[in-house]
């Protein structure tokens, strides 16, 4: 075997740090609940700390809503729906949503920096992906508000009323936008709960909503932990639950609302297959693998966490992948050079480390990037496992971290079977130069989003959501409106 050649430049290859400034942002020492366009102290009198996961410093204290506070928010939303929002013409509704979009664009830099501080994601991602997509989502749905009759032909429909929305910590502002924008366009009022580790950008959005002049009570934001979410789910005056998060919690919610007539959309977990054929452009595919599993530290429900490589190119692909992993920059999320930021929380880091141990104990071979870990904060090296069995827990269960399991295949039929052998069905990637093969695979893979020769692309016009245990309902695009309308036929 030829001697492995690696460029070793030592420190010469390091970039100078290029830190995004935090001087232009405002984070209050304490945040209350946003109800009726007012900041309301929680009746629980309790607050919880939100920290920067990259250095474990406390950023702010956040109100912890209890049943009473949630009830207050739901009442505010119901009153706003009955008295104001259902009587606001679609055209005027539309203009409010446009206003929110524009105000977000104006404050995009502040939103990006706060997102990075609170969530640990690289500034490059929050600046170029999360925040612009969130703004564009409002922009896209704003225009739907007065055109709903074109979305579902021959379908008489109306708004649902009050939507309870519970969002995750991996894309905090973007998920708030995915939830709020279509709900408002369809004429609903909203009670939204951000994830407890990442409330700040949702609260910034509350400031923007107030600034936009949106009528009081149309959007209410209640912060808290799981018990706050449960209070929303169980509130009798909520017409719809929209939840993005784990499949386990999704099932708990679905059981709780069984028989209540509450409508639901659930956007849950995944274990998505990323499939590389031997005729794929290998270097692009390696970039796609990296983007698929290491984007946002792997905290992505549609992460390409199961890699299937055609057997005859497996050695080459894995060698190039390891080489690429060694050039990823892991560190301060505020550094514009950083590729891999901080794991969102200590609990999530423990979960990921547990799965890494499981992978090793199940006999898979592990490789991790050689990068240094910062002394403080929650970080995890990009990790891949080869020689993984189909039955292995690391190829069946969602890890939600930068951990990739790699399997090989020989034929198209084999990889379709392996890829579909999962209770999940959120997304998949296919890399090949052959168009007819792409269409064969994309139509046979049982998943809601298929990326051909690309991965982890999102757009406000593009519906997103899963098959099977990855949930139901779609967010984004024309079809995303259906989640917030009462269809009569």
């Amino acid at each position: 075997m030829a001697k492995k050649k690696t460029i070793k430049g030592g420190d010469n290859w390091d970039y100078s740090p290029s830190l995004e400034s935090t001087s232009h942002i405002t984070i209050l020492p304490k945040y209350e609940l946003f109800i009726n366009n007012e900041w309301v102290k929680p009746s629980s009198k309790k607050y919880f700390k939100t920290t920067n996961p990259s250095n474990e410093e406390v950023l702010s204290e956040i109100a912890w809503a209890n049943d009473y506070d949630v009830d207050l928010a739901v009442k505010a939303a119901r009153n706003a729906y009955n008295d104001v929002w259902s009587k606001t013409s679609p055209k005027e509704r539309s203009k409010y949503i446009y206003r929110i979009a524009r105000l977000m664009q104006e404050q995009a830099r502040e939103l990006s920096v706060i997102e990075t501080l609170d969530a640990g994601k690289p500034i490059r991602e929050s600046r170029d992906i999360d925040v612009p997509l969130a703004c564009n989502h409002f922009f896209y749905y704003a225009g739907w508000a007065d055109k709903l009759e074109f979305a579902f032909p021959n379908q008489p429909m109306e708004a649902l009323g009050v939507a309870g929305q519970i969002i995750p910590w991996n894309f905090p502002l973007l998920m708030a936008a995915w939830k709020i924008a279509p709900a408002l366009a369809a004429g609903n009022c909203v009670v939204l709960k951000p994830a407890e580790t990442t409330s700040l950008t949702a609260l910034k959005l509350a400031e923007i909503i107030k600034e936009s002049g949106l009528p009081p009570g149309v959007v209410n934001i209640v912060t808290g932990h799981g018990d706050t979410g449960a209070a929303i789910v169980n509130h009798p005056d909520i017409n719809k639950i929209a939840f993005t998060g784990s499949t386990n919690v999704g099932k708990i919610i679905q059981r709780a609302i069984a028989g209540t007539g509450k409508k639901a959309t659930l956007e849950l977990g995944g274990k998505s297959a990323n499939i590389i054929f031997d005729d794929a452009p290998i270097d692009q595919a390696v970039e796609g693998i990296v983007n698929g599993i290491f984007f946002n530290q792997g905290h992505v429900c549609c992460a390409g966490s199961r890699l299937f490589v055609q057997e005859n190119i497996a050695e080459l692909v894995i060698r190039k992948l390891k080489h690429r992993m060694d050039s990823l920059y892991l560190g301060n999320p505020l550094d514009k050079n950083t590729d891999i930021g901080a794991i969102n929380s200590k609990e999530q880091l423990e979960t990921i480390e547990k799965y890494i141990k499981i992978g090793i104990s199940e006999g898979a071979e592990m490789y991790q990037s050689t990068c240094e870990l910062p002394g403080k904060g929650y970080f995890c090296r990009p990790t891949i496992f080869t020689n993984v069995a189909q039955s292995s827990r690391i190829s069946q269960e969602e890890i939600f971290g930068p951990v990739l399991s790699i399997q090989t295949f020989r034929t198209v039929d084999e990889v379709i079977q392996k890829a579909n052998n999962s209770p999940y069905g959120l997304a998949a990637g296919v890399w090949t130069d052959k168009g007819s093969r792409i269409f064969n695979l994309t139509s046979k893979l049982r998943a809601g989003v298929i990326w051909a020769n690309t991965y982890n692309k999102f757009d406000p016009t593009s519906p997103f959501g899963g098959y099977k245990e990855s949930g139901f309902g779609r967010e984004g695009g024309l079809h995303g409106l259906g989640a917030y309308l009462k269809m009569k036929l």
Binding site: K251, A258, S443, G448, I450, P463, K468, F472, M487
Partner: protein, 292 residues
């Protein structure tokens, strides 16, 4: 001497065959006058599992047929039903309908099947979208069949209710396990004979008779069933909804007067579909544009 009439044995329909229930049990529903309708199979949970296995096995090839071909086959069901109109009318009358109502129900069922036959190769054109994403990708969303659909046939009718729920579910490439109306089960089994002679492949529709409260929970909890569709189930509603959660079944509950011409639409089809969005990169080399 009068000729002795040959009575029909009502069996169940699984995988294109007409077995008796594996349990060997039967029940004897009565019509409104108290006359027995026959000895019907009292199907078991094991029959439910067998039916689901048959439906799953049939799903791949049925869902991969061309939309045009499925349209032809669904239309063929209507043809076969038209030819057996009298038989269904007699069965409906035996179960308590007047002759006029029986005729109305059969005619409506036939026309409704034709309506859905026509949708087979059109619903995706109406409901799909090409999404104008901001990046250099061709992005589109189309509907795909979902898998195995559990159909709890409406209880108050023998024919039109089951046709109204079953046909939109299968015309899009799904396969189905249907539990017939408990007290009005005759047309379900005779409808299975229609399906069996209509080029509908075995296993695409599987029909069981028996007690709803015995069969529905097993069907709702089955891990290889993708959706449950029914009318409101009253006191059983919460239990069935909760049983369906374990593999996140889609669950749709309809309230409709199935005897109304209005109780049919493309949205009965789309409820039992999954939306798939696909992204393809668009090559962009150099600066040549289409602005000639």
């Amino acid at each position: 001497m009068d000729r002795v009439e040959i009575l029909k044995t009502y069996k169940i329909y699984i995988g294109g065959a007409f077995p008796r229930t594996e349990s060997g049990r039967y029940y004897t529903p009565l019509n409104s006058k108290g006359d027995p309708l026959g000895n019907l199979c009292l199907s078991s949970r094991k029959d439910v599992r067998n039916a689901v296995t048959a439906a799953r096995k049939a799903f791949g090839s049925w869902s991969e047929r061309s939309a045009f071909n499925r349209g032809q086959i669904i239309y063929r069901i209507a043809e076969m039903l038209e030819g057996r109109k009298e038989q269904f009318m007699l069965e409906l009358q035996k179960q308590g309908s007047t002759k006029a109502d029986a005729e109305k129900e059969v005619v409506l069922a036939i026309d409704r099947i034709v309506y859905y036959a026509g949708w087979c190769d059109k619903y995706n054109q109406v409901l799909s979208a090409v999404n104008p994403v901001s990046s250099a990708h061709f992005n589109f969303s189309t509907y795909e069949s979902m898998g195995v659909i559990g159909v709890l046939a409406p209880q108050a009718t023998s024919l039109i209710g089951l046709v109204s729920l079953l046909i939109p579910a299968i015309c899009s490439g799904n396969t189905a396990v249907l539990i017939a109306s408990e007290n009005l089960p005759l047309c379900a089994i005779t409808f299975a004979e229609v399906l069996n002679s209509s080029d509908v492949p075995g296993g695409v529709v599987n029909i069981l008779t028996g007690k709803l409260d015995e069969l529905a929970p097993g069907l709702a909890a089955h891990m290889d069933v993708n959706a449950i569709i029914s009318e409101s189930l009253g006191s059983m509603e919460i239990g069935i909804a909760q049983a369906a959660v374990e593999n996140l079944k889609r669950k749709f509950t309809y309230e409709a007067n199935w005897m109304s011409e209005e109780s049919q639409s493309i949205y009965y089809i789309s409820d039992c579909l999954e939306l798939k969005t696909t992204w393809h990169p668009i090559e962009n080399i150099g600066g040549s544009s289409s602005s000639y």
